[in-house]
């Protein structure tokens, strides 16, 4: 796989990575990555943290780690330092590539920009390509190591998911979110240019469309929420954006009305709905959505004739095995052959459907969140006695926000500050209520339903 990536970089005579005001050609990418890889190669074999956001040096650093055969751990610079320290501890990483400024002296920091050297790369023994961290119900983030073999299998499969390899891809996801593995592979192995949308542009509608207008991506890799946001622009259609011909959605449930809107606005659009947990390398199934499918309650998430690994349904749960599936969590010695996803699904007419979760894991803005992790962190705040965290759904059964109830002699600001120190912003409940008592049912488990009803009543009472 790495050799194919090198050959791709050497033969492409175009831009590999484009931000609004900066760019990188494939040739520059290869040269810069090689220089950095030589430095990494001399500094041991443990995982390497890459700290940054969507700068071009992120791509250089990721490719450098792959070339140097060092597992990379993408860390978004918006994450709180406590989470980063926890990840450092779990991965035993010895160094951090400082794409964004990392103002702590707790680890050796390496600049992504290195001088050219003529030293050959040594091959190291390491099977892990990257480690992605996801929310863990124990209260700590959970590391998912993905091997070169997993990646290679994914990269062969993804090439067949797109009817044609995208010339350029609008990339919305942070590199710490493995939706971005799609554009990384398409870029490094198949020559697609990445057009990177950073968080400032993501939150500023005008700037987002300036980026699209200027660089004209032929494809978009996005969460369904991001697609919904793009569709708010009434002119987001094939007349105004004729260069867009493929949209790939993954990370959360794509709703029929979103898909139908996209297909109506863009006549010949190839709209791909994909599915897969991080444990099975970004995605394992995909299917092209047509207007007829949008008439049903749920959209399919995969074509059973074109899967990245084996997919079966056991007691209504989607179960994965085969080359895309990881071998076990970082902090666990348990070896995994069959991965039970916790996703409820079924197969009909050779199409795979995923319709929800067995547990309290939720998808919020494409991020996977264990409500139990938020509860664990909340309970660890001094003076918090009890807490309950629950999602608020909209009429489409999509999580629109997360709420929390807390008891204890503590101020709201302290709770918010403590949570923000330990959790990424998307995991901090927007509304936190300090209450006298959290209703409990007979089993002493938190009665989420009663809480939610009380919450609704309170809201209504305030109006």
């Amino acid at each position: 796989m790495i050799e194919a990536m090198i050959q791709n970089c050497l033969k492409q005579n175009k831009i590999a990575y484009q931000t609004f005001d900066d760019s990188l050609t494939f040739q520059e990418l290869y040269e810069s990555s090689l220089s950095l890889a030589i430095v990494l190669n001399q500094k041991g074999s443990s995982p390497v943290l890459i700290y940054g956001h969507k700068q071009k040096e992120m791509l250089i650093s990721i490719f450098a780690c792959l070339l140097a055969n060092r597992a990379y751990v993408p860390i978004d610079d918006a994450w709180p330092v406590e989470r980063i320290l926890e990840i450092m501890n779990q991965t035993q990483a010895s160094c951090l590539i400082e794409v964004s400024l990392f103002p702590y002296d707790v680890i050796e920091k390496i600049s992504p920009v290195q001088k050219k050297q003529n030293i050959p790369l040594q091959s190291l023994h390491n099977e892990i390509a990257y480690i992605i961290f996801t929310s863990g119900s124990s209260g700590k983030p959970k590391g998912i190591p993905i091997t070169y073999e997993n990646c290679d299998n994914f990269s062969q499969w993804i090439a067949g998911v797109f009817p044609h390899i995208p010339d350029s891809i609008l990339s919305q996801a942070s590199f710490s979110f493995d939706l971005s593995v799609v554009e990384l592979i398409c870029c490094l192995r198949y020559g697609s240019a990445i057009i990177a949308c950073d968080r400032t542009r993501l939150h500023d509608y005008g700037q987002l469309f300036q980026l699209i207008d200027r660089y004209q991506p032929s494809s978009i890799v996005a969460t369904p929420t991001f697609l919904r946001m793009l569709l708010l622009n009434k002119e987001f259609d094939s007349h105004h954006y004729p260069f867009i011909d493929q949209i790939y959605c993954c990370g959360e449930m794509l709703l029929c009305d979103t898909a139908l809107k996209a297909l109506t606005r863009f006549e010949d659009l190839i709209l791909i709905n994909a599915y897969g947990p991080s444990e099975a390398t970004s995605a394992v199934s995909a299917v092209q959505i047509n207007q007829e499918m949008c008439q049903s309650k749920y959209l399919p998430v995969g074509d059973m004739k074109n899967l990245a690994c084996e997919v079966t349904i056991i007691n209504d749960e989607i179960v994965l095995s085969g080359k895309s599936v990881f071998h076990g969590y970082l902090s666990s010695s348990k070896n995994i052959d069959q991965y039970f996803t916790g996703d409820l699904g079924y197969i009909e007419n050779d199409l795979l459907y995923c319709i929800g979760r067995k547990d309290s894991q939720i998808k919020y803005k494409g991020y996977r969140i264990e409500l139990a992790e938020i509860e664990q962190v909340l309970s660890s705040v001094p003076h918090v006695e009890q807490c309950a965290v629950f999602p608020i759904m909209d009429s489409n059964n999509t999580v629109k926000t997360i709420k929390a109830y807390v008891t204890g002699d503590i101020s709201l600001n302290t709770v918010k500050e403590e949570l923000s120190r330990k959790l990424p912003a998307y995991m901090v409940p927007r509304s936190i209520k300090i209450v006298d008592q959290i209703p409990e049912n007979a089993n002493y488990k938190i009665d989420r339903r009663r809480l939610y009803e009380r919450f609704k009543r309170n809201i209504n009472g305030n109006l």
Binding site: L232, N233, K234, E235, K400, S431, I459
Partner: protein, 75 residues
């Protein structure tokens, strides 16, 4: 159409909406989700605002959003 405050309370589920000193964008109250919900709601009510042509500063307060709606209705 319902009162804008009421609409935003339903969408954002956050009482801070009622506090006129709070910046809806900086505080994260009007996040991407709320943004989608608000524009979809207004569209259903026949108020078809074009988000690419809106000054971002208008979205910082209820008064700013109300003005966008009023300007649209005047046209």
């Amino acid at each position: 159409m319902k009162d804008l405050k009421e609409i935003l309370m339903e969408i954002c589920e956050d009482e801070r909406v009622l506090d006129s000193s709070i910046d809806l964008l900086e505080s994260g109250i009007l996040d991407s989700f709320a943004f989608i919900e608000l524009f979809s709601y207004l569209e259903d009510e026949g108020i078809e605002l074009q988000p690419t042509r809106i000054d971002r500063n208008s979205l910082r307060s209820i008064d700013g959003i109300q003005k966008l709606i009023d300007d649209y209705l005047k046209k």
